[in-house]
């Protein structure tokens, strides 16, 4: 018997081509943590347009960057910002106020309810959240209805199915078994709902290493594994490195100027970090080892 398991490892350049114009794209992580940035940058570079972006339950500036780069038609995210650095993403705020993007308004609980409905192939799931609020008004996909057993009011949440889920994790073996350092936030919900899952990891590990702690395997059978050390930069990656605040401030200054009417700085940002570097390794080279290694683990 010499049957061999097929490796699911691809590079970020090839993986990103799986994301096409008009798709629904989810991006895992949580605010300042664990976004598959090597793929997000590549998607901008390849010029993908009209995306529906399902950000993390609380999304960070990766969604803002995609909006600023002109890739986004619609955003699903209960929050887009950078906490104390920026209470709301500059491009997100401006594009929403100007009606340049559509927003699917929900909170985190409703958001996971919608992903779960998709995973279960259900036309809706009910929730108590949203009763008495403006959410069913500003999001007409949410409907108040009477529970068929008791007649009580509930909110019906329709399914939200990403075509592609992008996730950043700590480890994967070549066969699509993925482990996080820590909880993995809400990334399991993305994987379960999405048609295709692409995972970037800090380290590819042998299958034997996965088997040493199988209870830590959070996702299995993911479609593609991309080796991308520092792949969440400028955001943190649990157990590996912290956020690059200086880089995020550089981004925010460029973004704020752009929404104020001067795109010069932002165009330079895009050129320097996204259109210039040929791939993820070149991106890291541009950021530079001194900066990268300054993002300590503890």
């Amino acid at each position: 018997m010499t049957l061999e398991r097929r490796s699911r490892i691809v590079d970020e350049v090839e993986a990103a081509t799986r994301v096409k114009d008009g798709m629904c794209l989810s991006i895992g992580g949580h605010i300042m943590s664990s976004h598959a940035m090597a793929l997000v940058r590549r998607i901008i570079r390849q010029g993908t347009r009209n995306l529906t972006v399902v950000g993390a339950a609380s999304a960070g500036l990766e969604v803002d960057l995609l909006i600023g780069a002109g890739c986004v038609r619609k955003v699903v995210a209960p929050y887009v910002g950078a906490e104390a650095l920026a209470p709301i993403g500059p491009f997100y705020k401006a594009a929403a106020e100007r009606g340049e993007i559509e927003t699917w308004e929900c909170d985190e609980g409703m958001y996971y309810t919608a992903l779960r409905a998709a995973a279960l192939r259900l036309p809706f799931l009910p929730t108590l959240a949203g009763l008495g609020t403006s959410l069913p008004e500003v999001n007409p996909d949410l409907k108040v209805f009477a529970d068929p057993l008791t007649g009580r009011p509930l909110v019906a949440v329709p399914p939200l199915q990403p075509d592609v889920a992008l996730i950043h994790a700590a480890y994967a073996d070549p066969y699509g078994n993925v482990q996080f350092v820590g909880s993995g936030m809400g990334d399991r919900a993305h994987h379960r709902a999405a048609t295709v899952t692409i995972v970037t990891v800090e380290r590819v590990v042998p299958n034997e290493e996965i088997r040493r702690n199988p209870i830590a395997t959070a996702l299995w059978n993911v479609d593609m594994v991309v080796r991308a050390p520092y792949g969440s930069h400028p955001f943190q990656s649990p157990g590996f490195y912290l956020h690059d605040e200086a880089h995020l401030e550089e981004y925010l200054a460029a973004a704020r100027a752009a929404v104020g009417g001067d795109r010069g700085l932002f165009d330079k940002y895009l050129e320097r970090y996204i259109f210039g570097p040929a791939n993820h390794a070149e991106y890291l080279q541009t950021v530079g080892f001194p900066r990268i290694l300054s993002l300590h683990e503890v």
Binding site: I31, S33, P87, D107, A129, L135, V138, M185
Partner: protein, 259 residues
């Protein structure tokens, strides 16, 4: 005893939290964070503290490090268990007993708005960050606290342009039970000037106490609606020496609450 308004508020919050409660601590609201940790170290040895997607007890930590961001993974070093974020709302046993909710608008019935300001949702004058988890959390938590960093008539309004967290709706003690919401609703609205509670019958916001040095008139001048004002409004009780000692020596060594 010298103390800042932030320390006063942290102590006020701490006294309202009970031993045994399960409370998640955000990074973005340093004063409520300090209040929760003060309660834990002062009288809450059996509190479960939710921190950076983990649950833990911090009793044995002599000094609690502050963290700037919600998911800073360094705060997971004390983990006893992890919370998968998509399971946060899956059971009252996972959900925080208590929650803190901000708002770009909060109205006189304790409803809050994080969506935006304007008449037309498709053309907001000011787009807010979004509801985060507040819509669902406030459905379930035993009680919650509205918390504001500034006391401003544009924030404390007669009526929110949009509601993201249902407080007491259009008023009435049964406003929540009529909708079948299991949680206890907003208990206090805490600002840099005062503490509001809610009148028992119609659940209008009522001035409960002003912080030392603040007058009722100052509060009314900075509030965009007319709260219920009892004949006698007391002062928010100052922190004790023991509370200040815990705050400064263990919870807030960097002095965020003193800045």
């Amino acid at each position: 005893m010298d103390y800042t308004t932030k320390e006063l508020i942290a102590a006020f919050i701490a006294r309202d939290l009970h031993d045994g409660e399960n409370i998640v601590v955000g990074a973005n609201l340093p004063v409520p964070r300090a209040g929760v940790l003060l309660a834990h170290l002062h009288h809450g040895p059996n509190m479960t503290i939710g921190l950076s997607a983990t649950q833990t007890s911090l009793l044995k930590e002599p000094v609690l490090q502050p963290f700037k961001y919600n998911r800073d993974f360094r705060a997971a070093r004390w983990a006893e268990s992890y919370m998968l974020h998509h399971e946060t709302f899956d059971s009252p046993k996972l959900i925080s007993d208590v929650f803190f909710v901000g708002g770009i608008q909060i109205d006189r019935f304790g409803n809050s708005n994080l969506i935006g300001v304007g008449r037309d949702y498709r053309r907001l004058r000011f787009r807010g960050p979004g509801a985060i988890g507040t819509t669902t959390m406030t459905v379930y938590t035993k009680r919650y606290y509205l918390y504001l960093n500034s006391h401003d008539p544009r924030v404390l309004v007669e009526r929110c342009d949009f509601v993201t967290a249902f407080g007491w709706g259009a008023g009435g003690a049964d406003a929540r039970t009529r909708l079948g919401l299991p949680g206890g609703g907003p208990k206090y609205c805490i600002t840099p000037l005062c503490v509001f509670d809610f009148e028992e019958e119609d659940k209008r916001m009522r001035l409960k106490s002003v912080h030392p040095g603040v007058t009722v008139e100052q509060v009314l001048a900075r509030t965009g609606f007319k709260p219920v004002v009892p004949a006698k409004v007391g002062e928010t009780e100052p922190p004790t020496a023991e509370e200040i000692a815990i705050l400064r020596q263990r919870v807030d060594v960097e002095g965020v609450l003193r800045s």
